[in-house]
């Protein structure tokens, strides 16, 4: 079997049974899959298809394995873009595992998918010069800590050449929250304590797994 080309893992606070239902129930699928409808009886060997709200076929295939509530394998081909249809069938595996009180589902697709991340553009972006020292607006409006940051950034200019860094792992997640809240959660020590990433003042980041939530 060939190596997966794309793996996405997410953790969801639910039960395997509810997650299985969400992956296979047409009404639920429609809610989260942007009005896409799934047509399938979810038995191994059965035909499977996805349809747009206007009735056009999006994707077709076949159920290869269905082991509720643990594992679903779909043979999958795009139908609405000729260049993607020409790529032929891929295999999409969804695995549901318990992770303490949460469970995760993992979709692994074996096919060379069109690149969703423009790596070259990303590398170019990441080699942009640093913002001018002192431009940083810091939550701690303490003059001393701002100055300390400016100094460390000047020093870093000499040390970190970002064009030398190539992306190796990219993870994308959509969150229903304003950008400011996401920013605060990532950078505010009190909030990020809950989401496992904490940052100290003076421009240095501290990430500690001991800050990872352990209580519900």
């Amino acid at each position: 079997m060939s190596k997966p080309k794309f793996v996405y893992v997410t953790y969801i606070r639910t039960t395997p049974e509810k997650l299985w239902a969400a992956l296979t129930d047409p009404q639920t699928i429609k809610k989260y899959w942007f009005n896409i409808t799934a047509e399938c009886d979810w038995e191994p060997g059965s035909p499977w298809s996805l349809k747009f709200a206007d009735g056009r076929t999006a994707d077709t295939g076949e159920i290869l394995e269905a082991v509720p509530p643990r594992r679903l394998v779909i043979r999958w081909r795009n139908e609405f873009k000729p260049e993607l249809k020409a790529e032929g069938y891929s295999r999409c595996t969804m695995e549901i595992e318990m992770a303490d009180y949460s469970i995760r589902t993992r979709a692994a697709r074996r096919r060379s998918l069109p690149s969703r991340t423009n790596w070259k553009a990303r590398a170019r972006n990441s080699s942009r010069p640093f913002p001018a020292a002192g431009r940083r607006s810091c939550r701690t409006s303490n003059r001393c800590s701002r100055l300390a940051t400016s100094r460390s950034r000047r020093r870093l200019k000499a040390v970190v050449d970002r064009s030398q860094f190539k992306p190796k792992t990219v993870y994308v997640i959509y969150i229903a929250a304003p950008p400011e809240n996401v920013w605060r959660a990532l950078t505010d020590p009190e909030q990020s304590q809950r989401a496992a990433v904490s940052k100290s003042s003076r421009g240095s980041a501290v990430i500690s797994s001991s800050a990872f939530p352990t209580a519900g």
Binding site: R13, S126, V172, I173, Y174, A176, A177, P179, T187
Partner: protein, 114 residues
Amino acid sequence: MNVRGEVVEWSPPRRFASTWIVDWVPELREFPPCLVSYDIEPSGESVKLTMTESYSWDPPDALLSGGRSGWPAILSSLKSVLETGKPLVIKLEPPKGMMELVKELAAARPWLKV
């Protein structure tokens, strides 16, 4: 486990990047820092958060598997906190064989080879 680093980009509320120097075992202090950046883009009524872990050398997949198992848990928990106010409860452990691999790499220092 502890991670240190320095902020390389601070553009609220759009982009935050910092180096990571992991030092939960002494051997890891030999490793070059990696760069972790967060991009926050509005997308409809939601926000698209992209985490990018970058390296100045070519680390083996086995080493990257640590981040690849940890990030989904951390960022899923972040999503849950922001959307529901409640973090997820997930037990995190380094992948099997990670310590041995770290020791091998610290001895071989592949990042010094061009």
